[in-house]
């Protein structure tokens, strides 16, 4: 027993010593090679990084990494800041996450002493639509306001992530007094505040031709509202209008002269002439859905007569409204167009109410789910009875359109299609809102 123990100890010690000896001997050969290879790889990586910096700042003589000397806000996404050695400017590297999978958009941006972008490299992690070359190119020459950068359709999330990363880099430079942040124009600030001013705003639609004092005009994505920038002498005011003649005018007030920050407040009564000019301008545009609405109703209600366009006094997702007579009874038709904020698509919904405010008919041109082929992802969508679902609304009033009734397990929820369910709810709510205003708020 003792002999076995002694043998074991001797054997184990011998093996350990032999292993250590062999390792040391082998290390004499492999050690220097491993170190040399490591240095070579680090040199290559440094060259690659320097190459990227040079691409972002063409003509630079060299770079000094000043990241450690700066205060970088946590969560800003700014990874590094390099100073051009002949003081021509800076290169910052920043990243921003986007999408449900938290993919990364990484940018390397060269900024000259005047605060203008001289070069940009963009690297997008797999998982979104490819970003066109025109997107990074649109950043060249921009200042920290990033007023003229492009956003790419179908790559909205990654385009936004690029913009956020660049903005974070500029904020870091400004916060560390390396350069003064450029002032955003009043127009840019209005556009950035538009989602607060008009909560239904998701993104811009088509640009419209300017006219007289209206120097810029565009529709919202679902054509529910026309946005106008108007010159009033030296002053600039902003207006939102629908095709029914409802106009809201907003006045810009400078609240921080040093930073050039404006606040926006409604001042329609103060700018009655602006409101009238915008109303006239919008009436000339061919974006009204009235004719489409009437044609649809004539198909659904054969023999309908006495069509009368209704004024929509509030801005929202209801584009047009009409009253008509059918078999001696009065009805109201509404064309609503809610937007799916998940991927910025719009759903055209026609709602017909009777004089009691009960739903008589609902039709949907194309469900969100069918716009994206979701039936392949959620099989139940493929066999979903759309007509039966929409007929389920007949006879119901505004009191049935509640938050709860469109959630999972309830009457109007479409299994596996939450966004579509919420889109239907938004469309019906918009129709009832206009109906109530037409009835003087009595229903």
């Amino acid at each position: 027993m003792k002999r076995d123990l002694f043998k074991t100890v001797v054997l184990m010690v011998s093996i350990v010593l032999v292993t250590i000896g062999s390792s040391l001997l082998l290390n004499l050969v492999t050690g220097p090679k491993i170190e040399a290879d490591k240095a070579y790889r680090e040199e290559l990586a440094a060259q690659q990084a320097a190459g990227d910096l040079l691409k972002a700042f063409p003509g630079a003589t060299g770079f000094e990494d000043i990241t450690a000397t700066l205060v970088i806000a946590e969560g800003s996404g700014v990874i590094a800041v390099h100073k051009e050695t002949s003081d021509k400017g800076y290169v910052f590297i920043a990243e921003s996450k986007f999408g449900m999978m938290a993919n990364n958009a990484k940018v390397t941006v060269g900024v000259d002493r005047e605060g203008k972008i001289v070069g940009i490299l963009v690297s997008i992690q797999q998982g979104d639509y490819p970003v066109n070359d025109s997107i990074p190119n649109s950043y060249i020459g921009q200042d920290s306001t990033l007023a003229g950068v492009e956003m790419q359709a179908k790559a909205t999330h990654s385009s936004t992530a690029i913009k956020n990363a660049v903005a974070a880099g500029f904020e870091t430079l400004a916060a560390n007094d390396l350069m003064k942040a450029a002032m955003k124009s009043v127009e840019q600030q209005f556009e950035e505040n538009l989602v607060t001013i008009y909560p239904n705003f998701v993104k811009k639609g088509q640009d419209l031709t300017a006219s007289a004092n209206i120097y810029t005009a565009y529709t919202t994505f679902n054509d529910s509202v026309v946005v106008c920038y108007v010159n009033v002498g030296e002053e600039k005011v902003f207006a939102l209008a629908n095709t029914s003649g409802a106009v809201n005018v907003y006045k810009a007030t400078l609240v921080d002269a040093e930073k050039g920050t404006y606040e926006f407040a409604e001042a329609t009564s103060e700018y009655a002439t602006v409101a009238e000019e915008v109303r006239t301008y919008v009436a000339t545009l061919s974006i009204s859905k009235y004719d489409t609405l009437v044609a649809e109703i004539e198909t659904l209600f054969t023999g309908a007569t006495d069509f009368a366009k209704q004024t929509i006094s509030t801005l929202g997702d209801c584009l047009d409204a009409v009253s008509f007579t059918h078999n001696g009874a009065t009805y109201y038709g509404f064309y609503t167009r809610p937007v799916n904020t998940f991927d910025n698509s719009a759903m055209d919904i026609l709602v017909v109410l009777d004089s009691e405010g009960k739903i008589v008919k609902v039709t949907v041109k194309e469900f969100f789910i069918n716009q994206h082929g979701f039936e392949y992802v959620v099989p139940s969508i493929g066999t979903f009875d759309k007509v039966g679902y929409l007929d389920g609304f007949v006879g119901t009033g505004s009191d049935s359109i509640t938050e709860e009734s469109f959630t999972s397990g309830n009457a109007f929820y479409i299994t596996g299609a939450t966004k579509t369910s919420l889109g239907i709810k938004a469309g019906l709510s918009a129709a009832f809102e206009v109906y109530n205003s037409l009835q003087g708020g009595n229903n």
Partner: protein, 198 residues
């Protein structure tokens, strides 16, 4: 020859395959990784078995496991150093799996069942057979998966884009492993019956 067949099919090879499935699956993503791991497995298994065989007469019965641990980990350490120095790409591709060979059941099984009872010649042959088996398990799927996932092999572009995802590649590796297990089980069962009949 009869003994060699017996050792070759000792126990059941279909059990040995899952024992090494971890490093085999991790290494069959690319041909370079598969070749690297095949070489590492061969060197570790054969050299460990030779040392165990050489020390079999002085190794006390109850001290087998600690002695084998030291031998296998020692050999694995040397292989890691060599790979890091001379086959860096494969070393990086394999990551921790090369070092994890030190605790793989495959070299221990050869050491315990074969090398501790037999001379070096027989040990080398059987260890080479074991290593060759695992080389096939790693290289065959890699030959299929690397071109299908990346459209290239060993860095050579094959002129087409990858046509399956990495996830599908993982599934394919398990399919290939399952087929090999089934084949080995069939062969092993038949041969063992023949040996019993003799």
């Amino acid at each position: 020859m009869k003994n060699l067949r017996k050792y070759f099919l000792r126990g059941s090879l279909s059990h040995l395959l899952p024992l090494g499935a971890g490093f085999a699956m991790a290494s069959s993503k690319s041909l370079e990784a598969a070749l690297g791991m095949s070489l590492a497995v061969t060197v570790v298994t054969v050299i460990s078995a030779i040392i165990v065989s050489a020390l079999r007469k002085v190794t006390p019965e109850k001290a087998h496991l600690p002695i084998y641990v030291l031998i296998v980990t020692g050999v694995t350490t040397l292989v890691c150093m060599l790979m890091e120095a001379y086959w860096y790409d494969a070393y990086i591709a394999l990551g921790v799996h090369v070092a994890a060979l030190a605790v793989s059941a495959v070299p221990y099984r050869d050491a315990e069942e074969l090398a501790s009872e037999n001379g070096e010649a027989k040990t080398i042959i059987c260890s080479l057979v074991t290593s060759a088996l695992f080389a096939v398990i790693m290289i065959v799927p890699a030959l299929l998966i690397e071109p299908l996932t990346s459209g290239s092999i060993l860095g050579f572009n094959l002129g087409f884009e990858g046509i399956i995802t990495n996830v599908a590649g993982i599934f394919m590796r398990y399919v290939v492993l399952a087929i090999l297990v089934a084949v080995m089980r069939k062969i092993g069962h038949k041969t063992c019956k023949e040996l019993e009949a003799e």
